[in-house]
Amino acid sequence: MKSLTTTVRSLYEQHRPNIHSHLIVGLTLALVTLPQAVAFSVTLAGVPPHFGIYAAIWGVLFCSMLNPSRVFHGGPNTAMSATVGVTLLPLAPPFGAEYMGYALTLCLLAGLIQMLFFVIRPLGRALDLVSEPVINGMICGIGLFLIFKSLTTFGGLPVNTEVEWPLWIAWQSLLAVLEIGNMYAIQIGLITLITCVIAQQFESLRSWAILLGIAAGTLYSQHLNDSVGLQNTMVEQIGNLSSIGFVLPSLLQFNQESMPDIIALVPGSFTLALLGLFQTVAAMRRMSRQVGGFTDSRKAIFSDAVSNCVLPFLSSLPTCASFNRMWLVHRLGMHSRVAIASSALWLLLLVLFLAKIIAIIPMPAMAAVIMLLGANMINWEDIKPHFKDRGDTVVFMASFLSVLLLDLFGAVVVGSILAIAYSKWQQAHPNISVRGNVMKIRGNIYYGSLPVIEATYHAALARDRSVVIDFSECYYIDAEGIRWLAAAKAAANASFTDRRKTENRRTERRGGGDAGRTSDGRRRRVDRRQRSEL
C-alpha cells in the first residue's frame, strides 16, 4: 500500500508541471476515438454503439495500466471489429440478444487464446516470425474489405447477411447502391466523405478530419430532416445512447444449446486473437522504434490477453493496439500513460453528457468514415518497399489476395507459410562461386543447403583433383554441415580457408556476442589447418 502511494506521488511529481497538457492530449484522443468506436461497433461488428464505447473506455484504461509502453493506445480496432462481424453473421441476426452474447463469447475465447500465447513462450515468440509483407498485405486486404463492407450502409440499404465470396458481394452491393440505394443516404455519405478528405489535406486539421466529416454529415441530415422529414428520408441514425452508464455488466452466451455455434466460433476466435496480437506487437515495435524506446512484446501480449478476458463481462468489444491513434499520440508529442488513461475518462464524460447528440448521427456518415479509414489503411508508402524484392512481392500479394478470396484466417495461414517458406528457400540456396579450384560459399552450411553445395563441390572436384573451400562469408554451420566437411577433409581432397582475419580482430576488440565467440573458435581452428597445409 505504501509503495502504491509512493508510486502515485512520484507519478504526480513527474507530471505536475504539465498535467493540463496531458489532459488536453487526452481530450483530443477521446474526441478522435468516439466516432471510431461508434462506427466500428455499429457498422462493422453489428453490435450496439456502447460496445465500442466501452472498449474505448475500459480497453484503453486496462491497457494503459498493464502495458508499460508510453505510446500504447488500445481500444476498439477496425480489423478486429470486422472479424467479429464476419464470424458472427452466419450464426445470428446482428443487433439481436443472441448475437451480442456470441460476440462476447467470441471476445472471451480470443482473450483466452491470447493468454495461451503469453503462457507458452515460443508461441508468443512465433508472432515475430510473421513478416512485414504478410501484415501489410493483410492490412491492405482488410482496408479494401472495409470499403466493400460499408457500401450498403453508405447507400442506406440493409446489410447483406450470410457469407459469400466477398468480392462478389462487393460488386452486387455496388450495383444495388446504384440501382436502389437511398439517394438521401448517398448524399449524406458523399458530403461526409468529401469533408473528411478536404480536412485531411490540412496538417492542422488532420486529426479532426473524421470529427469534421461526421459533423458535416449530421448537419446535412438534420437539414434534410427539417425540409423533407425523417419519415421521407428514411435515413437510419445511431439512436439513443442514454441508457449508457458508468459500467454495464454483461453475460456471455454460453449454454448447452449454443455449444455447436460456440464450437463454430473457434476458428474465428483464433483469427481475432492473432489479428489483435499481430497488430499490438507490430504497432508497438514500430512506434517504440519511432520514439527510441523498447518494450518487451510479452508485456503487450499479457496486457491484451488480460483486457480481452475481462472486457466481455463489461459489454465491450475486444481491444488491441490502434495504429492511427498511436500515430496521433506520437504527433501530439506527449508520450505518457497519464494522457492515454485520461482519454478514457474524457470519453466516459463525453458519452454521459453528449448522448443526445450522438443519437442523431446518420449511419451513412459512419459508413463514409469507415470507407475513408479503409482507404487510409492502404498506404502506398508502406507497400512500395515490398515490390522491390520478388519474394516479398509474392508474399504480400498472397496474403492480400487471400483476405479477399478466402478469409482473414486463411490470409494469416497462407501468408505466414509463404513467408517462412521463402526465407527457408533463400537460406537453402547459398551463393557459391568457383574460381580455379577455390570454392567460395556465401551463406549457411546446413542440412538444407548441403545438397546445393555438394553438387558444386563434386562438379569442381571432377575438374581439379583438390578443392579449397573458402568460408570467408559463411556465417553458420550446423552439425550436419560439420560432419560433411569432416568427411570431405577425410577424403583428403578438400582444404579450407578463411580470409576474415581483420574482421575477427575487430569482433574480438568489441567483445563480440556468444555466438560470435564460438564460431570464432571454430574459424581459428580451420585457419590453423589451412596454414599448415599451405
Binding site: P90, A92, P93, T152, L157, P158, N160, E162, V163, E164, W165, W168, I169, Q172, S173, L175, A176, V177, L178, E179, I180, G181, M183, I186, Q187, L190, L193, I194, V197, I198, Q201, L405, L406
Partner: protein, 364 residues
C-alpha cells in the same frame, strides 16, 4: 506550392469520381422508376391466372375464387395501378425467372439472372403453376409449396435455424441455395414484386393470416413414414430410369430445347447446391416430400413414400455444386466431379451395352 497543387488535384479528382458515381446512381434510379411505370407484358400462364383471379385497378377487390367456393362475395381493399404492375411483374418473375419468354429481361425481370447460377432455374419448377397448384376441380394440393399460403405464414420461425424469418429473407435463401446463386438485396424490387404477387394470391384464395394450410411448404416424408426398408441407391436408380429419365435425362442434368428449359436439372452445374434443403444428405425429408406430391407431372401422388425416398437418395448422390459456405475446396471437388462423372458414366454405360449385346449374340 507544388504540394498544394497536388492536394487540390487530389480533391478535384476524388470529387469528380464521386460526382460521376452520384450521377450514375441518379440515372439508374430514373431508369428503375421508368421501368416501374411501364405496362407489363405478361406471360401466357400469368395472363390466364391473373384474369381468373380478377386482378384489376379498382377501389375494392373481391375474389372470384372465393365467390365460387362459398357463394359469398368478400370485399377487400382494391389495388392501385402501381400495385397491379408490381403483382404482374411478380407473377412473371415466378413463371419465367430467367426471362426466357421476355422481350427485355432487364426491364421485365429486373436483374433476376444476376442472382442465379446456371441457366435452368425458375421459381415455378418447385412452386408449380406459378406458386398456386390446383387440381382440375380447383382444389389446392397438399405439399405444393403454395406462395399464397406461404405468405400468410410470413415471418415464421425457421424450423432449422430457429431464426425469425421474414418472407423476404426466405426468398433470399431460395436464391442462395435452390438456384445455387447469390442473394439480392432485401430492398430490391425483385423481392418486393414477388412479395406483392404472393400477397395477392393469398387474397385471391381467401387465406387467413397466420393460418397453416396444407398446401404451404412441403409434405415432408421422414424415414419413419416408410415400411422401414431403408433408403436404397440401387432401387432409386431403377426407379429414376423408369419414372424420371424420360424428361430429366439420363444424367439428370435436365433437358433444354430451343433455349427453353423443358425439364430442369436435378444434378450437375444447373441444379440446386449441397446446402439446399432439397439435398437429401442435408435434410432427408424435403426432396422425397416434393417428389411424392408433385412428380411425375400429371401423375402426382402415385409413388409410394419409400419410392420417393429412394429416388431422392439416388438424385442426391449425383454430383452437384457445393454450397457457398462449404469453402473453395469442396467447390473445386464438386466442380471436378461434375466435369468428370457424366462422360465417365456415358463411357461405362456404352461399354456395358456392348458387352450385353455380345453376350446375347453368343447366347443366340
Amino acid at each position: 506550392m507544388s504540394t498544394w497543387i497536388a492536394k487540390i488535384a487530389k480533391i478535384v479528382v476524388l470529387s469528380l469520381v464521386l460526382g460521376s458515381l452520384y450521377l450514375l446512381a441518379a440515372h439508374k434510379h430514373q431508369q428503375r422508376n421508368d421501368a416501374r411505370q411501364r405496362p407489363v407484358a405478361l406471360t401466357a400462364a400469368c395472363t390466364e391466372k391473373l384474369a381468373r383471379y380478377g386482378l384489376a385497378v379498382a377501389e375494392h377487390y373481391s375474389s372470384p375464387y372465393a365467390l365460387k367456393l362459398s357463394n359469398k362475395a368478400i370485399k377487400s381493399r382494391g389495388y392501385g395501378e402501381d400495385d397491379v404492375r408490381a403483382i404482374q411483374r411478380g407473377c412473371n418473375i415466378i413463371d419465367d425467372t430467367q426471362g426466357q419468354f421476355a422481350k427485355d429481361i432487364a426491364r421485365e425481370r429486373w436483374s433476376a439472372t444476376r442472382f442465379i447460377r446456371g441457366t435452368h432455374v425458375s421459381c415455378d419448377h418447385c412452386h408449380q403453376s406459378i406458386g398456386d397448384k390446383q387440381d382440375a376441380a380447383g382444389n389446392r394440393l397438399k405439399g405444393s409449396l403454395s406462395l399464397g399460403a406461404s405468405w400468410v405464414m410470413a415471418d415464421m420461425y425457421d424450423r432449422f435455424t430457429g431464426l425469425l424469418l421474414p418472407f423476404e429473407l426466405r426468398q433470399m435463401q431460395c436464391y442462395i441455395n435452390s438456384s445455387n446463386g447469390y442473394k439480392p438485396n432485401i430492398a430490391d424490387d425483385l423481392i418486393r414484386d414477388v412479395t406483392a404477387y404472393s400477397r395477392f394470391l393469398s387474397a385471391a384464395l381467401e387465406l387467413k393470416i397466420g393460418q397453416h394450410y396444407d398446401e404451404q411448404g412441403i409434405d415432408e416424408i421422414a424415414a419413419s413414414a416408410t415400411p422401414k426398408q431403408g433408403d436404397d441407391y440401387v432401387r432409386g436408380e431403377a426407379l429414376y430410369k423408369q419414372k424420371c429419365q424420360s424428361c430429366h435425362g439420363r444424367q439428370a442434368v435436365g433437358t433444354v430445347t430451343n433455349g427453353q428449359v423443358v425439364a430442369p436439372a436435378l444434378a450437375g452445374p444447373n441444379a440446386w447446391n449441397m446446402q439446399s434443403r432439397n439435398y437429401f444428405h442435408y435434410v432427408s425429408t424435403i426432396l422425397p416430400g416434393f417428389i411424392c406430391r408433385n412428380m411425375p407431372l400429371g401423375a402426382e401422388n402415385t409413388l409410394s413414400n419409400q419410392e420417393c425416398r429412394d429416388i431422392a437418395y439416388y438424385i442426391s448422390n449425383l454430383p452437384r455444386p457445393a454450397g457457398d459456405r462449404q469453402g473453395p475446396l469442396a467447390a473445386l471437388q464438386q466442380q471436378a466431379l461434375m466435369t468428370v462423372m457424366p462422360p465417365l458414366m456415358r463411357m461405362t454405360e456404352s461399354t456395358r451395352k456392348q458387352g450385353d449385346a455380345s453376350r446375347t449374340e453368343r447366347a443366340e
